[in-house]
Each structure stands twice: as structure tokens, then as C-alpha cells.
């Protein structure tokens, strides 16, 4: 236990307000000048069940949830109770306490609501407390809340207790509550806060444990943003004004944020009958001249396979977002995994192509969503933002200036009515919308309603004006032109700076290759490994298709061995790398995790040292090592 950071875990039942309380807590500390990072754990049910959120607080930038945690605030499963006093559904009342002990650091703090939880129900509790040197605070948060307001204000009492023990200036929290609560609710919450705070100060030795929040300062204004927020905001800034979707965890977050914000900027959101319709609506709106998006998670995205192919064949720009969760089928709805990579790369029949970005954090999610729209509209091709439940839901502080960008409503390669007058037309009178001579494979499109621009968009192979054709020469020309786009996009992306992330010392013996949500955790592991005198660097790849072959090749060639870190069981990203590079199979080994929880930095450090440096075998079954082809 050090002064460096607080990792605060608030645990309770789904519906207890765990998410909103932790969000306010994180925001208050961000305002106080600290760096924050949240991690959510929740079951696939509406009320009750064990859920927690961790807020990691540090004076230095934080990129992952960290290892373990040092402060537990255990609330009761209040909403799992039925209206009858003290009657519970199921037997989960002690879970906020019992389920969380395994990961609590030595010397850590436990605060529990003695009005709802009884430690006698947990075997070995006292022995474990003694063994681990935990500091236990049993406080009747429920009664304090009831005395001054309502029982739901237990959360406020818990936060007040946290402030008292971890030396957080109460005003930091209070001012945020004042901003976010109506006066009628704010006043009783303040009473609850003060009572709980004073109780700790008067009845316990609050200074005993060595757990405190460090002081911090930001150079510039920060915002607390999730990956889902960032994707939605990237889309809005890029002029996206149409979204269609069907709810599915965890994609629903992006859909919700867009639906709440679009009417304010004169946009349209449509919740429709299924995901086939959702993607088809996005294609229809884009065809009619509006920037449009849709999205889903694995199972829903499967249904989008045919509209995705239609968008490619008709060269209709569209952006789809795919929020990965553990599969196959409906898998584990609320748990992260990175196993839809191949699904997203290869779904849809024929020689079909799409562009795929996999951002690793909120800042990248904003920038790459914008880039996905630019590429889609410039090249008239579907593009996909691939992320997962982890980066969709975790909150982190990002400089507000990241979002201080100009809007862009450029529809890309379209033709105006004036240009249409001189444009080549088919003898049938139609505009040659799918000409073979297009630059970079792109042929400008007209929009329905424009004079002189009528054409037929079709999922069948077609002539330049859109008429259906099975002519072999035309077929080859059209396929070549559509494929030419991918080469042009590759060249375009090579001109971008900082989409793929290099981290660590340039001269290194080993490399770690990763993608998406695991990147921040890998970066933290890289720091620790280099501190321990291992020379390791990282390449976090965000461009999944077209693949940055040159950049990855140079990285692999610059080191002796490469460990590929990803959250799935079949090493899909390693497979993609090997396929695209066409060699280096002997250099690439894998560290995999697929139990529903993301990597922690220590697991990557352990995996690397044990398997690569020491050539040993990983203990336990949390992570799995798959050696390189030559081993």
C-alpha cells in the first residue's frame, strides 16, 4: 500500500446506483486535478446480483484498472429485496462483501453497511481480515441515510465515509453533488454526508490505514468520457445525423447517446425491428445523401452481413460500429472479449471489402470514428469501428481540447448538378455512376433528387449506369476498381500519424503486439517490464483492414521475439498478423485471456517473464500461452 494511488471499489446489487455514484466520485476527483480510470463489472440481469465499479485515482496518468484494489465500499443488494421488509430474492445479500475479498490488497480498507450486511454470514471473515491486515469499518449507512433522507442515499453516506478515511476534502464531492442534484434532493444528501463523515471521524481512527488520495493538478481542462461517448461524439462532429439500431449490450450505449443527442442537432434516430433493418436503414439514408451509421454487438452484427455487402456492391458509404462481447452466440452479454475480429473482417459473401478501425481508448475512439466516416464517404465503402465492452464502458479523463475540432459535413466524392451536365451518361439516359476510370477506384455518386443524375444502385454486378450485367469484361473492371480502393485507402492511412501506437524504448529485444482495449494495460506492463530491466516495446495496432503491413513488419523485424496479447482463445489477431505479413510465424507467440475479464498489467508482466524470458509454464488457468510456430 502506497500513497501513489487509490483503487476504490464500490460494490452492491444492480440497480443500487453503483454506476452513477462511481461516475460522480470519479468526476469529482478529476475536477480536483487527478487522473481517473473506471472499470465496470456487472451481471446480465436488471436488479440484484453482484456488481461493482472500480475507480482508480492517481496523480499520474492511468491507462488501465490496475492490479487488485485497496478500498472496498460494500453496500447491500437493496433492490433485490421485495417490498416486504427484510425479505430477499435469493441469497445474495452478502455478496457485495464476500465476492470481493479475493482481490483486495493487503492492508486495504473495507467499509460495509452494517445495516444490511452481517459478517457472521461469511465464513473465515475475521481470520482473513487478520491475515491480510485489512482495516474494517462497520457503519450503519442504511440508518444514517434513513435518518436524514431516504434509504437510497446510502451511496452518499458511503462516499462520505470514503472521504473521511482517504483524506478527500469533502467540498470536492459536495460541489459536484450540488451541480448534479435538484435542491430538494441535495439538502438531505448533505445531511447524510455530514453525519456519515462525522461518524467516522468520531468513532473510528480514520488515520490508521495508509490509504489516501494523492494531490494532483491538470495542465489543462479535462472531461470524463467513456469509449461509447467518444464514438458518438466522433460521429456527431463528422456530420453524422442519422442512426438506426436495435438494442443489444454493449452497443446500446452508443445507440442511446446518439438517440439522446441527435434531435438537438436536427438529426434522426430510428429504433427498428431488427439489425438487418437497422443496417439497411443506414444504407438507405446514406444513399439519399445523409451521413449515417448503425451498429450492434456480435450476434446482431451477424444479421448485418447482407446490408454490409450491399453497401459495398452499391458503393454506398456507411459506418457500422461493433461492440464485441464474449461469444459464440449470445455468449456472456456483459463480459468483454476480442473474438469478433475475424467475424467483422470476413463476414458477407464474395470478394467483399470493408475498412476496420479498432481504437484502444476514448481519445482514439473519437479520432478513429471520425476517420472511419471520412474514409467511408471519400471511398464509398463501408467502414467499421470495432471496440468491446471494456472500452465502451470504462470512463477516463481526457483533455477537453481533444474534442476542440472543426466539424466536417463533407459528403466525400459526390457530384453536383452543375457537374452532372457535363458528366458522361449512358445511352439509356442514366448517369454513369460506376465508371471504370475513377481516381483511386472511386467514381463520384449523384444523390436522388438531383437533376441529370439518375442511376440504378444494385447489389447485382452492374454496368457503369447501374444496369445489371454479367458481361465478363465489365465484371473484371468493376471488381478491379472496387479492390483498387483498398490500396488507395492503405496509402492514405500511411499518411496518418499516430493511429497505430508505438510505446516503449525504440531499441528493444522484445516486442508486444496488441490491439483495441488491451493496449492501455499493455503500456502499463511495458513500463514495469522496462523498470525490471527487460527491454520491451509495444505496437498497438488500430488499423485492422487494410492492414498496416509495412509498419508491423518493421516492428517485428526490429525485435527478437514478439508476444501477441489479445482477449480471445483462438489468437485471431496473431492469425491476422501472420496472414498479412506472410511470414514471421516463428517469431510470434500468444498470451491469451478469455474468462470474461480483461487483462491486468501484472498478468501481462507475469506472462511475458514466465513464458518468453524464462521459457516456463504459466500457473493457473486465467491466461494461456501459445508458443511461436518454431517452438
Amino acid at each position: 500500500m502506497t500513497d501513489d494511488e487509490l483503487i476504490w471499489r464500490i460494490a452492491g446489487g444492480s440497480g443500487d446506483g453503483i454506476a452513477s455514484t462511481s461516475q460522480n466520485f470519479a468526476k469529482a476527483l478529476m475536477r480536483a486535478g487527478l487522473h481517473v480510470f473506471t472499470h465496470r463489472h456487472y451481471p446480465s440481469r436488471i436488479r440484484g446480483g453482484h456488481t461493482y465499479t472500480e475507480v482508480r485515482v492517481s496523480a499520474d496518468p492511468v491507462r488501465s484498472r490496475g492490479d487488485g484494489y485497496n478500498f472496498l465500499l460494500a453496500l447491500g443488494d437493496s433492490f433485490a429485496r421485495n417490498p416486504q421488509e427484510n425479505a430477499y430474492y435469493g441469497n445474495e445479500e452478502v455478496k457485495p462483501l464476500s465476492e470481493n475479498l479475493d482481490e483486495l490488497d493487503e492492508g486495504g480498507v473495507i467499509v460495509y453497511d452494517s445495516g444490511l450486511l452481517d459478517t457472521d454470514d461469511i465464513p473465515d471473515f475475521d481470520e482473513r481480515v487478520e491475515e491480510n491486515g485489512w482495516h474494517v469499518y462497520d457503519i450503519d449507512l442504511r440508518t444514517i441515510a434513513r435518518d436524514h433522507g431516504r434509504e437510497v442515499m446510502r451511496n452518499t453516506a458511503g462516499v462520505a465515509v470514503t472521504c473521511a478515511i482517504a483524506d478527500i476534502e469533502p467540498q470536492v464531492i459536495k460541489s459536484l453533488m450540488e451541480d448534479s442534484m435538484p435542491e430538494k434532493v441535495f439538502e438531505p444528501n448533505m445531511s447524510v454526508f455530514d453525519d456519515a463523515y462525522d461518524t467516522v471521524r468520531e468513532e473510528f481512527d480514520a488515520d490508521a490505514p495508509d490509504v489516501s488520495v494523492p494531490a494532483g493538478e491538470h495542465d489543462e481542462e479535462q472531461v470524463l468520457i467513456s469509449g461509447s461517448d467518444a464514438i458518438a461524439y466522433g460521429a456527431l462532429d463528422e456530420g453524422c445525423r442519422f442512426i438506426a439500431g436495435y438494442p443489444m449490450t454493449p452497443w446500446t450505449e452508443v445507440f442511446t447517446i446518439m438517440s439522446q443527442n441527435l434531435p438537438e442537432v436536427g438529426g434522426i434516430s430510428e429504433q427498428v425491428e431488427d439489425e438487418i433493418a437497422a443496417a439497411a436503414l443506414a444504407v438507405g439514408a446514406s444513399h439519399a445523401g445523409v451521413k449515417a451509421m448503425s451498429g450492434s454487438s456480435g450476434g446482431g452484427f451477424a444479421l448485418m452481413s447482407e446490408p454490409l455487402g450491399l453497401a459495398e456492391m452499391t458503393e454506398t458509404p456507411v459506418v457500422l460500429v461493433e461492440a464485441m462481447r464474449a461469444g459464440p452466440s449470445t455468449g456472456m452479454p456483459t463480459k468483454p472479449e476480442q473474438a469478433d475480429l475475424e467475424h467483422v473482417l470476413y463476414t458477407s459473401q464474395g470478394d467483399s471489402h470493408r475498412v476496420v478501425f479498432a481504437p484502444s481508448n476514448a481519445e482514439e475512439a473519437y479520432k478513429q470514428t471520425r476517420r472511419a466516416f471520412q474514409i467511408a464517404y471519400e471511398y464509398q465503402i463501408p467502414s467499421i469501428v470495432l471496440y468491446d465492452q471494456k472500452n465502451g464502458g470504462e470512463l477516463q479523463n481526457v483533455p477537453a481540447s481533444v474534442f476542440d475540432e472543426e466539424p466536417n459535413a463533407d459528403l466525400g466524392s459526390i457530384i453536383t448538378e452543375a457537374e452532372l451536365e457535363d458528366a458522361p451518361h449512358d445511352p439509356s439516359g442514366k448517369y454513369n455512376r460506376f465508371q471504370h476510370e475513377g481516381e483511386k477506384g472511386v467514381s463520384p455518386r449523384s444523390i436522388p433528387g438531383q437533376a441529370g443524375g439518375r442511376y440504378l444502385a444494385t447489389g447485382n454486378e452492374h454496368m457503369p449506369a447501374g444496369h445489371i450485367s454479367e458481361d465478363p469484361d465489365n465484371r473484371v473492371n468493376q471488381v478491379n476498381r472496387r479492390m483498387e480502393k483498398m490500396e488507395a485507402i492503405r496509402a492514405d492511412l500511411d499518411g496518418d500519424e499516430g493511429t497505430n501506437t508505438h510505446y516503449g524504448p525504440e531499441e528493444a529485444e522484445y516486442g508486444i503486439l496488441t490491439f483495441g482495449s488491451q493496449q492501455g494495460t499493455v503500456e502499463e506492463a511495458i513500463d514495469r517490464l522496462n523498470d525490471e530491466s527487460h527491454a520491451v516495446k509495444m505496437l498497438g495496432v488500430s488499423e485492422m483492414a487494410p492492414f498496416p503491413v509495412e509498419e508491423v513488419t518493421a516492428f517485428v523485424e526490429s525485435v527478437d521475439q514478439v508476444l501477441v496479447v489479445e482477449m480471445n482463445a483462438s489468437a485471431q489477431f496473431r492469425g491476422l498478423t501472420q496472414k498479412e505479413l506472410g511470414r514471421y510465424g516463428e517469431k510470434l507467440s500468444s498470451l491469451l485471456k478469455y474468462n470474461g475479464n480483461p487483462f491486468e498489467p501484472a498478468e501481462i508482466v507475469d506472462g511475458f517473464v514466465t513464458s518468453i524470458v524464462e521459457d516456463g509454464t504459466l500457473p493457473g488457468h486465467e491466461t494461456k500461452f501459445v508458443p511461436a510456430a518454431s517452438d
Binding site: A288, A451, I468
Partner: protein
């Protein structure tokens, strides 16, 4: 100045304007009912005074899906069963467009049945023409959702054990606000109905009986039909939901016995279209969304100015 000057261009239009100058020629079989739909649509478009470029005709897959290859306007030949979601989004994006979707009975009542129910339920302002020939044509003669019970085909060798879909009743129950049935054997009635359907503000469903001389020689669409709106035997008020429902039931019971009834079955002018409802609650902009991308004066909102405060 609109970026879409073809929209609202009120000029005299000749039905031949909707015929492509050269190829493609229709690949439909001689005697196919689909020719009747094409003819009726051209006549209706001319009568409505629509410029070819303000029309977007979205089709599905099958013989009927080729309609927009032979009808000269903007067209989107989509995939099996998906013409409706694409069409209704185009209409939301640019309400100035006249949007017509078309497809076969398999496309509309089978694979796209879910979209049909929901587009009708939401009462999108558009017209949907279903080519109903009670058979899968382009895949060579399989039983379709409207084929009569007992219909034998290569995929139902013992005869279909299923009752056919009742398209009119289904449409009424789903919420369509204009429902008619017409037939290729009477292009004049068909044309009049298409004109009314396009002018109607809401979801217009036309069950268009089209004969398939190649794969469905048994179908009864060849027999003389009765226009229920003209016949004294079938006097009913087609704005009355219950009466319309009864008439539909009667029609759908006798269709396969050789009595073909056509006409306007249900017209609800009072129900607001989906677009009107969305506009009323502030979820659709007053000006056509698609226009905004061509408006150089428009000031695009930035997240930084608009939404970021709540994250600070």
C-alpha cells in the same frame, strides 16, 4: 436554391419519359403480369406529374426486383426482402423524394415480412407495391407464402400444408393507412390506385395480382375481376375499419376459388404519417436533412460547444 432541383419540378410528363432510352429490355416472360405493373406505374407517374429524378424506386430480389431496371428514375435494387427499410430511410433523409418500394409476394410477405409489418405499423409515408403471383418465379416455381393450401411444387411435392398469407388483413392489422388490391389484367384501375396511393400521406400498400404464365398456370388471376368499389353487390364504406376488414376476409377466402375482387379496401386519411408524428415530437428536422449537406451557410454544431459541458 435546392441541391435537388428535380424535386417539385412541376412539368407535363409523358409516360414514355419513364422508359429507358435503350437497353435494358425487360427479361420477363411473354404474358407476365409484371408488364402490367410497369405500365400502370408509368401511367401513374405521368399523371402525377413527377419528374423521373424525384422518384426513388426501391425493389427487392426476384422478377419483380427488376422493375426499376425498366422504369427510368432513381432506383435502388436491394436484396431479398429489404426494400422497405432502405426505402423508408431514404424518405426520412429526404422527404421531398417520392419513394416507392416494390417486390414479390415471397419478398414482401415471406423473407421481408417483419419489415412489412413494422413499416405498416409506423405508417411511413411511402407506397409499397407487392407483385402477388402466388409463386416464386425467378427461382423457378417454388411455393410462396400466398400459394393456396395444397399447392404442389418441387419443394412441396405433397402439396403445401400451409394456409396462405392474407396480405390485406395482415396489412390492416399491422396499421397501413391505405390498402388496395389491383390486378395486372386491368391497368387502368391499377394506374388510378397507384396515383391515389402515392398521393396518400402514410403507408400505402397495394397487393398487385400478377399472373405467372410460366410457373403458375393454375392461378386464378386471369379470370375477370370485380371492382368492389364499383359493384353494387359489394357496397361498403372503405373508411370504416370493420367493414373493410369484413370485405378483406371475404375476398381472401374466395380468391383461390376463381373470384377475383379488387379495389380500395381501406383508406384512413386521418391517421398522421410517421413523418408527421416524428416532426410533432421534435425528432425530425423541419427542412429535409439531405439538403443541409449542400447548404454552405449551415453552421454545423460541434460537440465541444454543445455536449461537452456535462462531462466536465
Amino acid at each position: 436554391m435546392s441541391a435537388f432541383s428535380a424535386i417539385g419540378e412541376h412539368a407535363e410528363h409523358d409516360r414514355n419519359e419513364y422508359t429507358p432510352g435503350v437497353e435494358p429490355q425487360p427479361t420477363w416472360c411473354p404474358g407476365c403480369g409484371d408488364f402490367g405493373v410497369l405500365k400502370a406505374l408509368k401511367g401513374a407517374a405521368a399523371e402525377l406529374g413527377l419528374s423521373p429524378e424525384e422518384m426513388l424506386v426501391c425493389t427487392g430480389i426476384g422478377c419483380s426486383g427488376k422493375l426499376n431496371s425498366y422504369f427510368d428514375s432513381y432506383g435502388f435494387h436491394t436484396i431479398h426482402g429489404r426494400s422497405l427499410p432502405i426505402a423508408r430511410a431514404a424518405k426520412l433523409a429526404n422527404p421531398g423524394l417520392t419513394v416507392i418500394a416494390a417486390g414479390g409476394d415471397g419478398d414482401g410477405y415471406g423473407i421481408g415480412g417483419n419489415h412489412f409489418i413494422h413499416t405498416a405499423r409506423e405508417n411511413h409515408d411511402m407506397t409499397y407495391i407487392v407483385f402477388n403471383n402466388e409463386i416464386f418465379g425467378l427461382t423457378k416455381g417454388q411455393t410462396s407464402p400466398t400459394s393456396p393450401k395444397g399447392h404442389k411444387s418441387k419443394t412441396q411435392p405433397h402439396g403445401s400444408a400451409k394456409d396462405p398469407i392474407r396480405p390485406l388483413s395482415m396489412s390492416l392489422n399491422a396499421g397501413a393507412s391505405y390498402i388496395a388490391r389491383t390486378a395486372a389484367v386491368n391497368p387502368n384501375q391499377a394506374k388510378d390506385i397507384i396515383v391515389e396511393a402515392v398521393e396518400h400521406d402514410g403507408f400505402s400498400h397495394i397487393d398487385f395480382l400478377t399472373q405467372c404464365p410460366t410457373w403458375n398456370k393454375d392461378a386464378k388471376q386471369y379470370v375477370p375481376y370485380i371492382d368492389v368499389n364499383d359493384s353494387e353487390d359489394y357496397e361498403f364504406d372503405n373508411t370504416d375499419r370493420n367493414e373493410a376488414s369484413e370485405m378483406m376476409f371475404e375476398t381472401e377466402n374466395v380468391l383461390n376459388e376463381g373470384t377475383v375482387l379488387t379495389g380500395r379496401y381501406y383508406v384512413d386519411e386521418d391517421r398522421p404519417s410517421y413523418q408527421q408524428e416524428k416532426r410533432r415530437i421534435g425528432e425530425i428536422p423541419e427542412e429535409p436533412l439531405a439538403e443541409r449537406y449542400f447548404d454552405e451557410e449551415y453552421e454545423w454544431e460541434r460537440v465541444y460547444d454543445t455536449f461537452l459541458d456535462k462531462h466536465k
